[in-house]
């Protein structure tokens, strides 16, 4: 069988193209033995492991005995072929009943027959000439006839034993092995080979039995794309970003005093302020710790405002990390307000997996979505804060903090479109543009990008001691991006001018 060099598929010996990948088999490197499956170099005509024909019907070629390759061979189980069976049938009774000389002559006849059946390849490969086969001839093969015209029958070779035909042939023929082996067909054990031959044989065996992909040798080196920015340039850029982020340390964050709340922020603060005492708000913390640095300040500002307004808050999350963030946030608020107690003022229901399916269950009943709360592991009916709250429609407002537009879209598609309620989305700046169509269509009551909205919300909600928000850093970052844009275009124009002048 011919092994395709591209895909390792084993094709029939007469195949011209690979059956699996369609590649040409003209320059194949390995053949697989049809009997034992071992890989052999293309030039081999019989398997190095089991000595079976690699190409069926190759009995016509006459091959020099000296060209048959040598292999360190330990006969295990003889592979039985029709030819071997014929030879066995012609074999005489077991050892002990016939003269040894007859057995030797039979062995020679077998070798001669073997030499006859080794044939030329039907499709010559690059190293098809039998004369180029690897290995040194075994001495015993020199005793075989050089060009037998027809297979000699064993019976023809058995002469009348009048004298010892082995006289003078001691050491050349492995008599002991041939005489003592079991009568099942087995090739005689070759004499011990030299170290070089052993090394070559082992090397050949390891290569031939390697089952790794043949494509490795055909690896193509793709030229690496030239970097636009050198290492120093990148380092400088990173340093500028770091300095921009540290700007408030030097400037004292003066620009935070200039913050003016946007209309959307003011509108949300007004909506929350207008909620009567005892109303209920559902907050979904659909963001993970990755974006917590951006969203947490706004979530804390809104949470504090809700707590101060004595509004019941029920928190949940469709993101595993959101639950921990909710727990941390409300632990902070509860630490600031001793009267703000879990179970009475707020509760954390926990994590709802399978975003679309999980949110859909909120439409039917909260009890179907959450069996127990996250902190105290009590059923929802046991929590005072959950009084009269059975489904999402019982809440006065629903606020979603999100870092992924799919999460907000799931809320709109699975919940808001089925159960009509006011949905406010407080999201990361990265996804705000993606949700603008939903705000414009009225499906989102509020859409706020969190980046620096915490400070705006604190001003809009009238908090007395707004926290530091490092707004100077945003200004510095804008400058860094502007400098980057200018630098890259200046460099580009200079490169183009240089290329043009070289071209001229």
């Amino acid at each position: 069988m011919i092994v395709c060099a591209a895909c390792n598929h084993r094709n029939p010996s007469d195949a011209l193209v690979c059956e699996a990948c369609g590649g040409s088999l003209e320059h194949f490197v390995y053949r697989a033995c049809p009997s034992c499956g071992a890989l052999n170099p293309a030039e081999n005509v019989f398997c190095h492991r089991c000595f079976d024909d690699l190409v069926p019907g190759s009995a016509e070629t006459i091959v020099e005995a000296s060209d048959i390759p040598v292999e360190s061979f330990v006969p295990s189980e003889p592979s039985v072929t029709d030819r071997e069976e014929a030879v066995r049938e012609a074999a005489a009774p077991p050892v002990g009943e016939r003269p040894t000389s007859d057995l030797i002559l039979e062995a020679d006849a077998e070798v001669a027959t073997t030499a006859e059946v080794v044939s030329e390849e039907t499709e010559p490969g690059p190293l098809a000439e039998p004369q180029q086969l690897v290995g040194e001839p075994i001495e015993r093969l020199e005793a075989a006839p050089s060009e037998p015209e027809a297979p000699m029958q064993p019976s023809e070779l058995i002469p009348e034993a009048e004298e010892d035909v082995l006289e003078g042939l001691e050491g050349l023929v492995p008599i002991a092995a041939a005489a003592t082996q079991a009568h099942a067909f087995a090739l005689p054990v070759p004499p011990s080979v030299s170290e070089t031959e052993q090394h070559d044989a082992e090397l050949f065996h390891s290569i031939a039995s390697e089952r790794g992909p043949l494509r490795d040798a055909a690896r193509v080196v793709i030229p690496r794309r030239a970097r636009l920015l050198s290492r120093r340039g990148r380092a400088l850029l990173y340093l500028l970003v770091l300095l921009a982020a540290l700007t408030p340390v030097f400037t004292g964050d003066r620009t935070s005093l200039l913050l003016r709340p946007r209309d959307s922020v003011t509108s949300l603060a007004r909506d929350i302020q207008s909620l009567p005492t005892g109303s209920a708000v559902l907050i979904s913390f659909d963001y993970g710790p990755a974006y917590a640095g951006e969203v947490d300040p706004l979530a804390l500002a809104v949470g504090r405002h809700l707590a101060a307004s004595q509004v019941r808050v029920v928190a949940m999350s469709t993101d595993p990390g959101g639950v921990g963030l909710a727990e941390h946030l409300y632990r902070t608020i509860a630490g600031e307000m001793p009267d703000y107690r879990y179970g009475e003022s707020y509760a954390i229901l926990g994590y709802l997996p399978g975003p679309e399916a999980g949110l859909r269950t909120l439409c039917t009943s909260l009890g179907k979505a959450f069996k127990v709360d996250y902190v105290q592991r009590r059923t929802l009916s046991e929590l005072p804060v959950m009084k009269d709250l059975t489904s999402v429609q019982d809440f006065d407002q629903v606020i979603v903090f999100a870092d992924d537009s799919r999460s907000v879209r799931s809320w709109i598609e699975q919940v808001q479109s089925q159960c009509n309620f006011s949905l406010h989305a407080l999201v990361t700046a990265a996804i705000e543009p993606m949700l603008l169509p939903y705000q414009q269509s009225g499906q989102l009551s509020t859409l706020i990008a969190a980046a620096h909205s915490a400070g705006e919300y604190e001003k809009a909600s009238g908090m007395e001691e707004p926290s530091l928000h490092w707004t100077d850093a945003y200004g510095a970052f804008c400058l860094v991006l502007l400098v980057t844009a200018i630098a890259t275009n200046v460099a580009y124009l200079r490169t183009r001018a240089r290329q043009r002048s070289h071209g001229q």
Partner: protein, 201 residues
């Protein structure tokens, strides 16, 4: 049978849930509610499948003594430790400590790294080689400038400009993208329900 049963399950479940969107019948609603809640249970099992896969991949690496097995040990140990604490002591101070001081800083800082790389990406993206690149450069700088928190102090027109950019051209473009995405999602869902696509077989 291997293919027919999953296909039949997909079609039946899909039919009930889809019908529930448009036909407000109590029986259909009840069956759909059960199926949807069941899907959340299966989603939880799928999460466990992911964890099992993670353990087997890194476990094999550790057993094979391959390169990086030490890190594989760290991953497996941290996974099992967090799982043990989370299952045995849910909502406890120990789990909160792991979340607040290990999980949170790691994930937050991974995202913070992107601030550096987005600027080096800007160096490549802001090259005005084509008209489209020029449009992208101008729109990026405009949006950043108008998003400045103290923009109103610089000029009262900056917030107006920001609102206009976001509510008119960006909304129009994003609506086209949202509609295209919705069409693609619905087409894919329809292919699954009609068993043209069978990713579960």
């Amino acid at each position: 049978m291997k293919k027919i049963l999953p296909m039949a399950a997909a079609i039946l479940c899909g039919l009930f849930v889809l019908t529930d969107f448009f036909v407000p019948h109590p029986s259909i609603g009840a069956v759909a509610a059960v199926l949807v809640e069941g899907a959340t249970i299966l989603a939880a099992f799928a999460l466990f499948l992911g964890v099992v896969n993670l353990l087997s991949v890194h476990g094999r690496r550790v057993a094979r003594e391959a390169r990086g097995r030490g890190l594989g040990v760290v991953l497996i140990a941290s996974l099992l430790a967090t799982l043990a604490i989370g299952v045995a002591l849910p909502g406890s101070a120990a789990l909160n400590w792991v979340f607040d001081y290990v999980y949170y800083p790691l994930q937050a800082t991974m995202a913070a790294l992107l601030a550096f790389f987005v600027v080096s990406a800007a160096y490549r993206a802001f090259r005005v080689r084509t008209a489209q690149a020029a449009i992208m450069l101008v729109s990026s700088l405009l949006v950043i400038a108008t998003q400045l928190p103290f923009g109103q102090a610089i000029s009262p027109y900056l917030p107006i400009a920001r609102d206009w950019i976001l509510t008119v051209p960006v909304t129009a473009g994003m609506r086209g993208i949202v509609l295209g995405t919705a069409l693609g999602t619905m087409a894919t869902a329809l292919r699954i329900l009609l068993t043209v696509d069978r990713p579960y077989v």
